[in-house]
């Protein structure tokens, strides 16, 4: 995250451009709209993200976050807007993850995928559509993130990363999201996160089943989920419908929010295993 220095003088202008709005429980909240924030950022030759962070420090809420406030609180929203998150893999899980993180207002997203969209992605990968088949997934992710929330600083790598590449991508990030589609790469990301000293939020799907856990540096984590070598799981048999990646991605984003804000209980040393067919959500110890 770049330092937000040099724009402290903006605070009065931000306050002057703010208006009152109804916040959680009917409370009154000072807000600044996107148009005013963009104008002030342009006048101060700074980026929109830095301006919004300055607004939050002055207890002026970017209006887009009004419905976040009751759940995240001021401090939570500030932390989200100051945090960097790496998302590795931009398929069924990753597409949903970046969409939700951008809407939450994550300050910086570092995303990577070496693949391009194909027709058999259309049933579940929200970044794909009929007119972008053949386009690199990272390009479509960057476009989508910027369209949703131009305050997010996006960095993208169009390649399948090795551990070194993952280290480069996630450096400076608060947390990394494992949205990959094969076991060796997932284990590499766990290794990279451990080296960086950051937690990794794992999610995986197959058919109507999914799983989520958060691995902290040095923990066994995925070694317990995948005790034997192998590239793939039973998704090679079940395929993946549209609803499972959306469900698991949402749970991964909830984990990211807990880790960044410090509120709630992350799934540390615990696995949430779900199966929509049997309506089962099982929380089990992993350590």
């Amino acid at each position: 995250m770049e330092a937000d220095g040099g724009i402290a003088g903006l605070r009065e202008k931000i306050e002057a451009a703010s208006a009152e709005a109804e916040g959680p429980g009917g409370s009154r909240v000072r807000v600044i709209g996107l148009r005013e924030a963009r104008r002030l950022a342009r006048e101060a030759s700074t980026d929109l993200g830095a301006l919004e962070r300055e607004a939050l420090r002055a207890e002026v809420l970017p209006r887009r976050y009004l419905r976040n406030l009751g759940t995240l609180g001021w401090e939570g929203q500030r932390r989200i807007c100051e945090a960097g998150v790496a998302v590795v893999g931009l398929g069924g899980l990753g597409g949903n993850v970046v969409e939700l993180l951008a809407r939450l207002g994550v300050g910086r997203l570092a995303v990577a995928d070496g693949d391009a969209f194909s027709e058999d992605n259309l049933n579940r990968q929200v970044l794909s559509h009929s007119d972008n088949l053949g386009h690199p997934k990272v390009d479509e992710a960057v476009k989508r993130i910027r369209m949703i929330n131009p305050a997010v600083d996006v960095r993208a790598e169009e390649c399948m990363l090795d551990v070194r590449g993952m280290l480069r991508l996630a450096e400076g990030c608060r947390v990394a999201v494992d949205a990959l589609d094969n076991i060796p790469s997932r284990l590499q990301l766990q290794e990279a996160c451990s080296l960086l000293g950051i937690p990794m939020v794992h999610g995986a799907i197959a058919g109507s089943a999914g799983q989520v856990t958060t691995v902290f540096p040095g923990e066994c984590g995925l070694r317990l989920l995948y005790p034997q070598d192998g590239d793939r799981g039973i998704e090679t048999v079940t395929g993946n419908p549209s609803f499972t990646p959306a469900l698991v991605a949402a749970l991964q984003v909830a984990e990211v929010v807990k880790l960044i804000t410090g509120n709630g209980e992350p799934l540390r040393n615990r696995l949430l295993f779900l199966d929509t067919d049997s309506n089962s959500f099982l929380l089990t110890e992993l350590a």
Binding site: G89, G91, G92, L93, G94, A179, L180, D181, N182, I183, R186, G203, A204, I205, A206, G207, S208, A209, G210, Q211, C220, R223, L224, L225, Y226, P227, Q228, G230, D231, R232, G233, I234, E235, V237, T238, N240, P245, F273, D275, D277, S278, S280, L282, T284, E285, L286, A287
Partner: protein
């Protein structure tokens, strides 16, 4: 032999058609052999790669396939999921 409860999740449950049943075995390896014989040779796709919990504890952190079973143990099988 120990009388244990077997619990199957996701694709395993669908393959066998039930989510839990009782079996007898001395250890995890014998239980796996019994499962293959009871449920057919194609039972448990890649069962050797399943995550297996015994009373909620991961078998990889116990004695793996040599883990001794006791009466009343609950042995849960989770298929490997790796899709993204």
């Amino acid at each position: 032999m120990a009388d244990v409860e077997v619990r199957l999740f996701a694709e395993y449950r669908k393959q066998v058609g039930v989510s839990r049943f009782r079996m007898e075995a001395d250890d995890l390896w014998q239980l796996m052999e019994g499962l293959a014989s009871r449920c057919g040779s194609d039972f448990l796709i890649g069962a050797e790669r399943a995550m297996i919990l015994i009373n909620g504890r991961n078998s990889a952190q116990l004695a793996g396939m040599r883990t001794v079973l006791r009466d009343g143990d609950v042995v849960s099988f989770f298929p490997p999921l790796a899709g993204g």
